[in-house]
Symmetry: C2
Subunit: 245 residues, 2 copies
DNA sequence: CCAAAAGTGTTGCCTTTACACCCATGT
DNA sequence: ACATGGGTGTAAAGGCAACACTTTTGG
């Protein structure tokens, strides 16, 4: 059995300097999810780069000299939404040598969740070339390998949303239980039983009954709730938590 | 509200060339888990690089010009174990600007699972500077940020091992139910009820009763089983699967 | 008073847990 | 025959899924 180890530079033990030939551009791409009128949407921009002119792409930038990929992702998010402290989660690395037409660019994908309503409030601050919300279902033929990145990010979102209360980042601060249920039904692409859903959510003890109701609705107005992030943190710390939709 | 987007090069829309100043070395580090005599172990090497001389580190190499990070991980694994087709899963990216003493090196961590027995069979093929199996519990003060990488990888392993039958990659091809149970108890650091465990595993219908038993044991010999990877794939394809420990 | 959506309990089933005794082999 | 670990069943509790009618508001 022949081995090839011997001649390979080992980055963790033997290497004495870093060569220019093995340096790469690194970018960070953000899949920004929003939720509005029972639709899951993604913030996309137009790609002007051949051969992808006319297609949409995710929002991404090159990693700068002294920032981490997470910092880069936060910078990107702040730039295009003017919001900060958004939920952010790493998806994966995409490193096919021919994935980018300008040359070798390894990209780290992140996804983030934002409230479209909050986003709209600050929209006038963003430069004229604005990103656009596109319904997830409508998105196809993204530039580069972004369709795959989106698929991976959505898979990750579906998983995480069932295990952690991250969905509340995409909902208004005050919401009805039915809005919450619709949200889960949309994101997970399943149907939920109303009574069972309410029982489960109320049993978590993490919803604050605001003692307010909807108004201007032509039917019985629903009660409004908000999510108790404080209590969630406490329960998390003492290991009491079992958030499972 | 001030915005900073306008001047930033956008990798996906506007940039026309890649500059040398924003190129980085990329490495791939592998957390190689093995399981032996009721202990979870990790394959580590000695780090000879100041200021970490004397400490252990993960096995890693620089990404080469035309390979993906996954290919790099497979190359690394093959080099140091002479085994291939190993289970491989991405952990995360580590990109702190000062994480590596030679300069800016962004690393992608992967973890892999191997059977120590299989590994030992090929060990004579590996160059003299051999990596070493260290019990997970004993590992502390790894070089670089490898302690954190290991922690993240182990968390990922604990999660995945409950959801997918990846543990069988670390066990002998023929195993007893009690060995299997010990494996899960070790990896997950929990205790399991023997009867309940057996019932659950048998109910999966994915264990092949080999109609063989242990020999040379000074007690009632246990039956040997193997995992039915074929059937697992089929069930996975038709969505019948519910592998949950 | 009608339309439209909000709100509310009960039951059966399945899954999970807890628990103790007999069995097969080597010495 | 004894020591050692292997192998087995049952009952109680808890969680999950299925299901239909009443309530409140606006028009």
């Amino acid at each position: 059995m022949k081995m090839t180890t011997s001649n390979t530079a080992n980055i963790n033990t033997r290497l004495s300097h870093l060569q220019e030939e093995t340096k790469f551009s690194i970018s960070v791409d953000c899949v920004i999810f929003g939720y509005d009128t029972s639709k899951l949407k993604v913030l996309l921009i137009d790609c002007n780069m051949p051969p992808y002119v006319g297609q949409k792409s995710l929002i991404g930038e090159l990693l700068e000299a002294r920032e981490t990929t997470t910092q880069a992702a936060k910078r990107i998010l702040k730039n295009c939404t003017s919001l900060k402290d958004l939920y952010l989660e790493e998806v994966s690395v995409y490193s096919h040598p021919d994935r980018h037409p300008l040359g070798r660019v390894v990209t780290l994908a992140y996804y983030s969740l934002i409230s479209i309503t909050e986003y709209e409030k600050h929209i006038e601050d963003v430069e004229n070339k604005r990103p656009e919300w596109i319904e997830l279902e409508q998105i196809k033929d993204l530039a580069f390998d972004h369709q795959k990145i989106l698929r991976d990010a959505y898979n990750r979102l579906q998983r995480t949303v069932r295990e952690k209360p991250i969905g509340f980042s995409m909902l208004p601060k005050k919401f009805t239980l039915i809005q919450l249920q619709n949200f889960y039904e949309t994101v997970l692409n399943i149907e939920l039983d109303r009574r069972n859903f309410r029982r489960k959510l109320m049993a978590l003890g993490l919803l604050i009954d605001l003692k307010e109701v909807q108004n201007n609705v032509s039917h019985r107005p629903a009660k409004l709730y908000s999510f108790d992030f404080e209590k969630y943190k406490q329960k998390q710390n003492i290991g009491t938590l079992n958030f499972e939709i």
